[in-house]
């Protein structure tokens, strides 16, 4: 069963609804003790990095997320949930993240004529073969809404980019952990396909 972690940020119903509509067993949970029972874990989230980390700390969820990741089971971070997987973010000063993937989170530069936040439909590029991206074409658009993006230390943990003035990592992966900057639950057929791929994934590459 897939567990969607409710740590107090934003709208989890869409992630739940999307997986449920695909016929997967899914639950929204907030109790750290029950995390271990899931086969797959989703860390959703919108809003600020600091608020997200504070809520995770308050719920004593960070050690549990780390131990879930160490167990080798698939873990998916969506949007802010992806960014929290990294070491740190410079949103409102430097804040530490969960640190499952080495790297930092930075803001889009101002003044290159592009609007920030990056809101709307945009396509993926430089897609690397990976189970989570199975049969997802680079021409297809996904729904993005963010002002910050992930910069992993290791280039090879980026498995798809997106072009918004600069190419930024749209999908990152390290062993059984993946993160997507867009919202698959808001990206209609292509997004649902990605969620399906995640649900079918055993965490091996």
């Amino acid at each position: 069963m897939i567990g969607v972690l409710n740590y107090g940020v934003g709208n989890l119903a869409s992630v739940y609804n999307a997986l449920d509509s695909l016929g997967h067993e899914v639950e929204i949970f907030d109790d750290q003790k029950s995390m271990n029972k899931y086969s797959h874990l989703i860390l959703p989230g919108v809003g600020s990095f600091v608020a997200g980390m504070n809520l995770l700390s308050k719920g004593q969820l960070i050690p549990e997320i780390k131990s879930f990741a160490e167990s080798g089971r698939p873990l998916l971070g969506i949007c802010l949930g992806m960014q929290l997987l990294l070491d740190s973010s410079n949103e409102h000063g430097l804040t530490s993240g969960i640190g499952l993937i080495g790297g930092k989170v930075v803001r889009f530069p101002n003044g290159n004529g592009l609007k920030v936040p990056h809101i709307g439909w945009n396509s993926l590029c430089n897609i690397v073969k990976h189970p989570i991206l199975h049969s997802i074409k680079s021409s297809v658009d996904m729904y993005f809404v963010h002002s910050y993006y992930c910069l992993p230390d290791e280039k090879n943990s980026v498995i798809a980019y997106c072009d918004y003035g600069l190419e930024f990592p749209a999908v990152i992966a390290k062993n059984n952990i993946v993160g997507v900057q867009f919202h698959p639950e808001k990206s209609q057929p292509a997004g649902l396909k990605l969620l399906n791929n995640f649900a079918a994934w055993d965490g091996q590459c």
Partner: protein, 253 residues
Amino acid sequence: MLKKRVIPLLLLRDGRVVKGINFQDYRDVGNPRTAVKIYSAQDADELVFIDTQGSKASRDYLVEILREAANECFIPLTAGGGIQSLTDARQLLMAGADKVIITSGAIEVPSLISQIAGHFGSQSVIACIEYRGFGNSAKVTYQNGSKSIDLDLIDYAIQLEQEGAGEIMLNSIEKDGLMSGYDINLAKQIVGSVSVPVIVSGGAGNFMHIFDLFRESDAAGAVCASLFHFGDNTPIRARSYLKNLNIQCRTLK
């Protein structure tokens, strides 16, 4: 490359979708549940719901419609109408909205936008600038055009961005429902003055109007109501028309 968005707008009144002209004389144009199903099947880029009444009953109905929409369409949903507090915004976001639209609340409740942005992030707040008139004589209005305030539109847009709005929606009362094209001049001015995305509402009567908006301004999205309510136009057809004219629109599959 980021694509241009075509965004159907559903105005809700007494449990129905309605459409007026110049914010008046609302006509019934259908059942919201049916509209959600149709727009979802027609692959709208995003859906906007606005409760035009702002009463307890109409808010409850909006929440109900949002819950259902979030259950069956996997696209971004935006909702507004009468949001005056963080609690109001939270209620809509928890019901399934990804973003809320604030119009009168931004004028009547100081710090409302910054409170919502602080809690849910800037990306969850669209500030709507409702106005009457054109060019330099355009006046910012609120409460469905019944009140006005002496603010320069550009200064106001900059102020809304500074307060934390992640997106700005322009809504011309004078263009509303006439299907004679968008107020592109003002769109250009506002787009050039803020660093957040701007979407434009009021006046779309055919696909050429959307094309004109995207060709002449750098607006991020075209909000359409009458265009889709009256006649057989759909978001799919709008995108294919725009793509033929080299406007970058979403590819689904």
